[in-house]
Amino acid sequence: MVAQAHTAQQSAALLELKNIQKWFGGVHALRGIDLTLQPGEAYHLLGENGCGKSTVIKIMSGAHPPTSGEIVLDGETFASLTPIQSLAAGIETVYQDLSLLPNLTVAENVALNEQLVNANGRLARLFDRKRLRETAARALAAVSLPTDRAFLNTVVSDLPLASRQLVAIARAIATRAKLVIMDEPTTSLTRREVDNLVRVVERLRSENVAVLFVTHKLDECYRIGGHAVVFRDGQCVAQGPIENYTKKELAELMTGRSIDAQRYRTGEPSGAVLLEVDRLVTDGVREASFSVKRGEILGITGLADSGRNELAMALTGVVPATGGTMTLDNKVISVRTPAGAIEQGIGYVPEDRLAEGLFLDKSIFENEIALIVSRLANSFGIVDRDKGREIAAHLSEEMRLNTKNLDLPAGALSGGNQQRVLIGRWLSIAPRLLVLHGPTVGVDVGSKDTIYRVIQTLAESGMGLILVSDDLPELLQNTDRILVMNSGRIITELEAAQATEDQLYKAMLATTTENVQ
C-alpha cells in the first residue's frame, strides 16, 4: 500500500486543482482548494454537509465552472471543464442520486455514454447497438451483475435500488476511466454489496485508475484504505493516508469540535405501554407483533427487503396494513392514511426527505408550519402568519438550525438541516408516537449529533419513538430495544445496551430456515 502510494507520487498527476474558488451568489462555497490526484490511488473526501465536497466534484465533472483557479488535467490547464471534456479525459462520476435515466434500459444507461463521448458530444451519429451490448456486458460483469439479454433490456425504473447503484458504477467503468468519483456509493447497499464494491475498487486501482470517494461512512473508508482528504467550510483542513487518523480525529477535523461517539441513550422508558401492535400484516410484513412504551426508543432494522420499510409505512398509514390491530393508549385505532395517522398523534419522518417530506421550493417557515396551518387559521380560513412565524422560530431554535432566516427555501439547506426542519415540523403537533425512517441517511457527523440529541430529548418528554434504520451504530447508540426483521417477520429482539453489531448482522442475514439467536 505505502509502496504503491510512493510510486504513484513519482508519476505525473492525473488531476490537479489549484486555488479553486467558487461563489454561489453571496455564498463562498470553496475558499481556495488545492488538491492533487495521482493515478491508481484511492481518496476519501470527507466533511460535513455543505462543506464544499459536492461542489468540488461538480467542478471536476464539468457540471459547474469554478469562479477562479485552475484545473490541470493531463498536463493541460483549464479555467473550467464541460461535461464532455471531463468525460473525454476519463473522469467518471457516480452521483449520489445515481443519475440513471429511469426510462432507458440497463444497457443504454451503462454504455450509451461511451458512444456519446466518442462522438465528442455530437448527436447526429448512428448508434451502434452491437457495441452498446458488448460494452454494457463487459462493464456489468465487472461489478458482478448479470449480462444476459433480459437484464440488459430491463428498464432501470424496474430495478431494485441496490442493483441501480451497481448499474451506475458499471457506467462509470464502461469507458476507459482514469478517475472514478463516487458520491456516497454505499448509502443504499447492503453489506454483501459493499464487499463487492470494495473488490471493484481494488480492481480499478490495479488498473491504475484513481478512485475518489465521498462518504459519511468512516468504517468503509478504513476498509478501502488510501488517502483521506478532509474539508471544512470550503477549505481543505487535512490530507494524508487514512490510517494515520483515528475515527475520532477525522470526526473532529470535519466538525471542528469534539464529537462523543458514545451511547446517546441515557433515559429510561416509563412503565406505561403506548403502542401495542398485534399480528400486523401488510404487503411484505407477516404478522408483526410488538409494543412501544412511553418515552421508549424502539429500533427496527433488517435488510432492504426484510419488510422494515413496509412496517414503517403501515404504522403511519402511508401504505395501510391489511390485517392485525394497533392499540394506542389502550384504544384500538385504524390508520388508513397519513392524515389519519396524524389525527391519532402518529408522526412519520420518511426516509426520502426530498421526495416525500419537504416542500423544497417553499421556505423553512412554510415547511415548519405545514401540519398546523389549519390550527393557525381563523374561522375565515385566514392563516395567522405572525403566530406561525413565532412557532417556526421556536422550532428552529429547538432543532438548532444553522440559519435564522426562516424565509430561505428548504432546498437551499444542507441535508442535515433539511432533516432538522422535517423533524421540527412534527414537533409542532407534539405527536404521541414518532416514526423516524433513516433519519440520518446522507447526513454529516455534526448534524447526526444534533439529531440524536433531539431524539433523546423527545423520548425524555414521554414521546414514543420508533427508529427504522440500517445504520447499526445509530441504533445501538440511541435505542432501548432493537427488533430485527428478516423476510417479513420480526425474528429477534435485542437489548440495545448489550447488543453488538455482529449479533444484529447475523440476524439480518440469517436465512429464514436457520434458527436465530
Binding site: P83, L100, G121, L123
Partner: protein, 344 residues
C-alpha cells in the same frame, strides 16, 4: 372442430397467458391501443359490413395523413418530456403563406419545391420554439401557447384572412395524384392519393431517428430526466432545437398536404385541433410526463381516433357522441396504464 380446439388451447394457456399479458402491456402499452382498435373495427364491421369495403379503409387512410404527421411531431417532443401546442399554427402558417406565395408570385414553382419550402418554413418556426424553450427556460407548454398565438396572429394580420378557394394548379394536381385506384361495386372510382405515402415514410424516418441515432437516444434521455442528461454530456440546446425543428417540419409538411387534399386554403383552419392530436399520442401509450412511447403506438393512437371520428356514424351513432367515446377511451386507457405501472 376448429373452434373447440382454440377453446381448449385458451383454457390450457389461461393463467400464464394472462400473466404475460400484464407484463406485455406494461412494456408495450400500445397493445391496449391495438386491442381497442381491433375491438372497435370488429364491432363496427359486425354492425355494418359496409365498413370493410375498400372505400372506407381508404377514407381512413386518407384522413390519417395530416393527423399522423402532427402526431409524430407531438410524440417526439413528448418523448423528450416537452409538449407542443403550436404545431397547428405552424401548419396553418406554412400552408397559407405558401399558397399565397405560389398564387401571387411564383405560379410556376414545381410542387416538389412547394413541399420542400413549406417543410423548411415549418422547421424554421419550430426552431424558434426550440430556442425559446431552451434559452427562456420556460416550460414548453407555455412557450408554445405563446408562439401559437404569435404565429397565428402574424399570419392573419400580415399575410391574409381571405379563404382561397381555387388553388394553384400544381397543388391541386398533387392532391389528386393517385397512388392506386379501385373501382367500387357501384362503379365509382375510389382513389388512394399519392400523398398517403408521406405518412409511412415520415413514420419510418421518425422511428429510425429515435431508435438508430444518438439523437434519438438523447431525446429519450432528456425525456427521462433533463438535468441528468445534461450532466452526462448531452447538449440540451441541440436536442431542443432539433426536436422542435423536426416537429415544425412535420407540421409544415402536414399543412401543405392539408391544403392540397382539401383543394382550398383557409387561414383559420387547423388551429383548435391540437387536443385531438395530443389525445391520439397519449392513447398510443406515450406518457404525458415524457420519456416513453413508440412510433407504432402513436400511429395506432391516430388510427384509433380517426376510426372513432369517421366510422361511428356508420353504425348509427350520432357524431356528437364521438367526443364521449374518445374521452372515455382516454380515461380508460390512462387508468389501465397507471394500474399496470403500480402493479410491477
Amino acid at each position: 372442430m376448429n373452434a373447440s380446439r382454440t377453446d381448449e388451447l385458451d383454457s390450457a394457456a389461461g393463467p400464464t397467458r394472462s400473466f404475460n399479458f400484464g407484463d406485455l402491456v406494461r412494456r408495450r402499452p400500445e397493445t391496449i391501443t391495438l386491442l381497442l382498435l381491433v375491438a372497435i373495427c370488429t364491432s363496427v364491421a359486425i354492425a355494418n359490413p359496409a365498413f370493410l369495403q375498400p372505400s372506407t379503409l381508404i377514407d381512413i387512410g386518407r384522413a390519417s395523413v395530416v393527423m399522423g404527421l402532427f402526431a409524430l411531431g407531438v410524440f417526439i417532443i413528448l418523448a423528450a418530456g416537452g409538449i407542443d401546442v403550436s404545431f397547428t399554427a405552424i401548419a396553418a402558417f406554412a400552408m397559407y403563406s405558401m399558397t399565397v406565395l405560389v398564387q401571387n408570385y411564383l405560379p410556376n414553382l414545381p410542387i416538389a419545391a412547394v413541399i420542400v419550402m413549406a417543410t423548411l418554413g415549418g422547421a424554421a418556426l419550430g426552431i424558434v420554439n426550440g430556442l425559446l424553450v431552451h434559452h427562456l427556460k420556460v416550460p414548453s407548454l407555455i412557450v408554445t401557447i405563446g408562439t401559437q398565438y404569435l404565429f397565428r396572429g402574424f399570419l392573419l394580420s400580415f399575410i391574409g384572412t381571405v379563404w382561397i378557394m381555387s388553388l394553384p394548379p400544381q397543388m391541386g394536381a398533387f392532391g389528386r395524384m393517385p397512388l392506386f385506384q379501385i373501382e367500387a361495386d357501384n362503379g365509382a372510382l375510389i382513389t388512394l392519393p399519392f400523398y398517403f405515402l408521406v405518412l409511412p415514410v415520415a413514420a419510418g424516418l421518425t422511428w429510425w431517428i429515435l431508435n438508430r441515432t444518438l439523437m434519438g437516444r438523447a431525446i429519450f434521455a432528456v425525456g427521462g430526466n433533463a438535468d441528468i442528461a445534461s450532466r452526462l454530456g448531452y447538449s440540451l440546446r441541440t436536442v431542443h432545437v432539433f426536436l422542435f425543428g423536426y416537429a415544425g417540419a412535420l407540421a409544415g409538411l402536414a399543412g401543405i398536404i392539408h391544403v392540397c387534399a382539401n383543394r382550398q386554403a383557409n387561414p383559420f383552419d387547423l388551429v383548435g385541433t391540437e387536443i385531438n392530436v395530443i389525445a391520439a399520442v397519449v392513447l398510443g401509450g406515450a406518457r404525458i410526463t415524457g420519456g416513453t412511447g413508440t412510433v407504432l403506438g402513436t400511429i395506432l393512437g391516430v388510427l384509433l381516433i380517426v376510426v372513432i371520428n369517421s366510422v361511428l356514424v356508420m353504425v348509427g351513432i350520432p357524431s356528437t357522441w364521438q367526443r364521449l367515446v374518445v374521452g372515455s377511451f382516454i380515461l380508460l386507457a390512462a387508468a389501465f396504464f397507471v394500474t399496470r405501472q403500480r402493479r410491477k
